[in-house]
Amino acid sequence: MAIKVFLLLLFLSCSHSVFSIYQDQVGLMDWHQQYIGKVKHAVFHTQKAGRKRVVVSTEENVIASLDLRSGKIFWRHVLGADDAVDEIDIALGKYVITLSSEGSILRAWNLPDGQMVWETFLSGSSPSKSILFVPANLRGDKDNPILVYGNGCLHAVSSIDGEVVWNKELTVEGIDVQELIHPLGSDVIYAVGFGGLYQFDSCQLNAKNGELLRHEKAEFPGGFSGEISSVSSDTFVASDAAHSILVLISVRDGAINFQQTYISDLVQDFSGTAVLLPSKLTGIFSIKIDGFVVFVKVIDEGKLELVDKIDHGAAVSDALPISEGQQAFALIQHEGNKIQLTVKTGHDWDDDLVKEGIKMDCERGLVHKVFINNYIRRDMSHGFRALIVMEDHSLLLVQQGEIVWSREDGLASIIDVTTSELPVEKHGVSVAKVEQNLFEWLKGHVLKIKGTLMLASPDEVAEIQRIRLKSSEKSKMTRDHNGFRKLLIVLTRAGKLFALHTGDGRVVWSLLLNPLRESEECSSPIGLKIYQWQVPHHHAMDENPSVLVVGRCAHGLDAPGVLSVVDAYTGKEINSLGAVHSIVEVIPLPFTDSTEQRLHLLIDANQRAHLFPKTHEAISIIQREFANIYWYSVEADNGIIRGHVLKDNCILEVSDEYCFNTRDLWSIVFPSESEKIIATVTRKSNEAVHTQAKVMAEQDVMYKYVSKNLLFVANVLPKGIGKIGSVTPEESWLVVYLIDTVTGRILHRMTHHGSQGPVHAVLSENWVVYHYFNLKAHRYEMSVIEIYDQSRADNKDIWKLVLGKHNLTSPISSYSRPEVITKTQSYFFTHTVKTIAVTSTAKGITSKQLLIGTIGDQVLALDKRFLDPRRTVNPSQVEKEEGIIPLTDSLPIMPQSYVTHILKVEGLRGIVTVPAKLESTALVFTYGVDLFFTRIAPSRTYDSLTEDFSYALLLITIVALLAAIFVTWVWSERKELQEKWR
């Protein structure tokens, strides 16, 4: 009781209701990790003596400058989603040049700080290959223009200010340019390419003004496959349309010569197809032939000679000029748990400059890319460093046979997240440890109290901060009472599973899932989702939880699926099922078997349901619940939503008792000419709702319509599906529905005229909040719909309750059609939204906050109270007491309520909230290119003392009170004695 009063006092003493932290609390309960994604291109900048760096562009559309010594990010920019980087290079030794958006945007960035210097938009007529050619500038005093080929047009752009010096439309000439060659100091630019399937073209252009000097063409009857590789400045290699002949093309004095070589003559027992690999080596090219990479050397007079044949899975770097006329390139091969890095020179195959074996974690998979850079050793010999991109998207720098640094950039492309509890602490804390720490503990608190009294010196302040951040408590590998410590299990696009500790964000284990790797059965596997597979409660001490990973072999819905079960503590694969039936949807059922494995239904493309796990016990459970399993499917392209139930066992050639036929129960068909589905949202299945009743002002009660089967659907006019600016308000509207997915009943329908998508929505308890664009006001809007059950409304009468004439105990069934009423309200919202989530707490008592991921890659926590349809302009006194905020036309954005404070979660894609055991607190994990984790308390931490609670002050108070009691006792004794003597 005393504690309660005390807490109440504490609670009252802090009257703010927004989420907010102090600057010195950063890093106490949050962590932020920055990534870049899988590297596509890398350019080294190591000439100058200062900071050595490597500039990279990645598949997440990031360009970044990394410290070559440590792998840290100097600067980084995340480009727009449609602005994929085609090429990067460094010009004038100080600008990073990027070509993006299929060769239409050329930007220059200042190398030291990443400030954009200029941006040029290059227009063209037809899509084509994009080529960036930055002339080698040895002296750095002359401005050689950058050559850019994109969209069928060749541009020469000044590297100083981005002015287009000249441009030349080459599609008019009928050439699809594949290679650009501009010899240093020459006034002529050579462009080679194909004109149609059979024609090879070679052009010479004036480097000063882009004038077409010469244009030769020649036909090759076998046709070209489209790939070309340059062997020297006037010799090229292409393959024919059937991929069986290599064509050596030489352009000399305006004449084009073809020389054919059958691949079968070069390589014994060749069958299948050969693919030319792009490499820029002089005199050597490489081809990929089923499972092997073959290196072929061009000797004089167009003779080809096989030099080496290596296993597939090897990676080859581009050529690096190391000295006058000499080139080097790197080759990486796998040997068990080691990789072999070989650096060879272009002219002599047998001469290895470097041959190093590097131990490699097998969870990183194969080497995908390698980039090399050289440096001069003390003894004037060449040393090489290699930047390696692995199959799991991680980035490593290798030098002298050692891994200098590594970055886990796979974490930039998270697909799905789930959580797992940590192991229960098995041994109690030993007494010795406490005693040892007691002094430290006291010292820490004395320092802390000094800090609060502003008596601490700067050194001591730093010490306090260090103690707070270092706290070993938060990164322990065991469960805690508050449930703050968990494992975040994330699936990345590379098919790798990571377990991150919520305390400090470190990787506890990682696993490259074998079923999600490229193989013969699975050509381009993708991971889809993670589900909690087994969460042991009864045997929490000796059984480990596990997760189920669902993937698919290719992009189509009918591609075979893959399943894998992974132990959440050890990161070992327990069980995997490759290339089964197709998986369109996975439905976790609310039933578990005796080993606490959750039952799942996998729906395939033929509308059959497959039970997983395939055990007899599972069958018996499902037989019992056969009639109670409902699900729905959304066909967004056709505008149909269907409800399904199980029917009977499948009749196949091979009898399969785990397979069931399904039956359509209901369907809703939206008129395709006026409505197109753009968003569907349901409730989180594990959400806890504390109370069904909502007590209003004036002693009134409303009953929330709480149903797990509620589906929110948002439709727009098919015309308005594009981005903002493509339609006028008159020709666009948004229709929203609330649908019961068991019966197919439409509970609510509402039209927003003059509005369009994209719609982001979140459904929780009995309300849905959605964000869309209002074209009339040209602002974003957020609306709330709350749905209440009217059939229970008359249960307020106490006499009915006493006499038992109420329907509170009647079973809730989706088949009963309760009267529902809805309340709605709309507000303006300033920012574009990328994603919306809602906090979830253990018991659902704490009030909710919306977590809004804004376009600025920040996460805003907005109280649900602001989105209450009962808000009015002038709330009455009673309503005010209830906490109703006066109505405003737009939602407030308070900077202190940004959960991410000064940080940005670049490329934000998703927000996941997980309840902690402590009712007041929810854990929030935000992912994108960056990761951010924190814990928030939507109604403040009313059930525990805050981090900055001063125990020392409490102790001092107690001591002072005791002293006061003693002193007063002494005084009273003395006084009494005096009284008696008087």
Binding site: Y22, Q115, E119, P758, E976
Partner: protein
């Protein structure tokens, strides 16, 4: 770093003043090649760097976003930005950076009279004659810790407890002392009759009977 940044900003301001007179006609929508138009604009932050708070945002981190993510561009060192190949219609431009709040801007690109800027802030409906975007306000993401004051300690639960003790220890005896002994005795008699244990009986003054 901060020093470097500031010097760059002074340069930026100067160059802005200079370029403004020359390029004011460029702050417009100009017809581009083909069907697309070009939107040119400028972001101006008056007090960038002149802030006591550790400012995390830099000019290079400012992004300008067209139509909720359709296109993203960055600022040139002079604060200018441009979107190319934009179709005619009503568009939305947002500026995002850490530390400042920018209102989204509604920009009308009309096919009929190119070069005519129709821009308005959506937050307060203010019309812009030129596409110069300025932050509406600065954003402070942290609560400011109140400096230590005696009052805050006194107000805290512990402080209240201490205060109470002090009052009881020093003021109560004084009160009791100042009372008339006759009155005191009477009061005590009364209390004894009522049988209610009172606070005064616990006090040293009560022993004076």
């Amino acid at each position: 770093m901060a020093v470097k940044q500031r010097s760059k900003l002074i340069f930026l301001k100067l160059s802005l003043l200079f370029s403004f007179s020359l390029l004011s006609s460029a702050l417009a929508i100009s017809p581009g090649a083909g069907d697309g138009h070009t939107i040119n604009g400028r972001v101006k932050i008056p007090s960038l760097g002149a802030k006591g708070f550790a400012l995390p945002g830099k000019l290079s981190d400012i992004k300008v976003i067209l139509n909720g993510g359709q296109r993203v561009t960055f600022l040139r060192p002079d604060g200018y930005f441009s979107f190319h190949n934009v179709p005619a219609g009503t568009h939305l431009i947002e500026v995002t950076t850490i530390g400042y709040f920018f209102s989204p801007v509604r920009v009308d690109v009309s096919a009929r009279n190119p070069g005519n800027v129709q821009a308005a802030l959506t937050e307060n409906r203010r019309r812009l004659t030129e596409l110069v975007l300025e932050p509406l306000r600065e954003e402070q993401y942290y609560e400011i810790r109140e400096p230590f004051s005696v009052m805050s300690v006194v107000k805290s639960p512990m402080g209240l407890m201490m205060g109470f003790v002090v009052i009881v220890m020093f003021l109560m005896p004084k009160l009791v002392e100042n009372m008339d002994p006759e009155e005191m005795r009477r009061a005590q008699e009364e209390m004894r009759n009522q049988g209610v244990p009172s606070l005064t009986s616990l006090l040293p003054g009560a022993a004076r009977s």
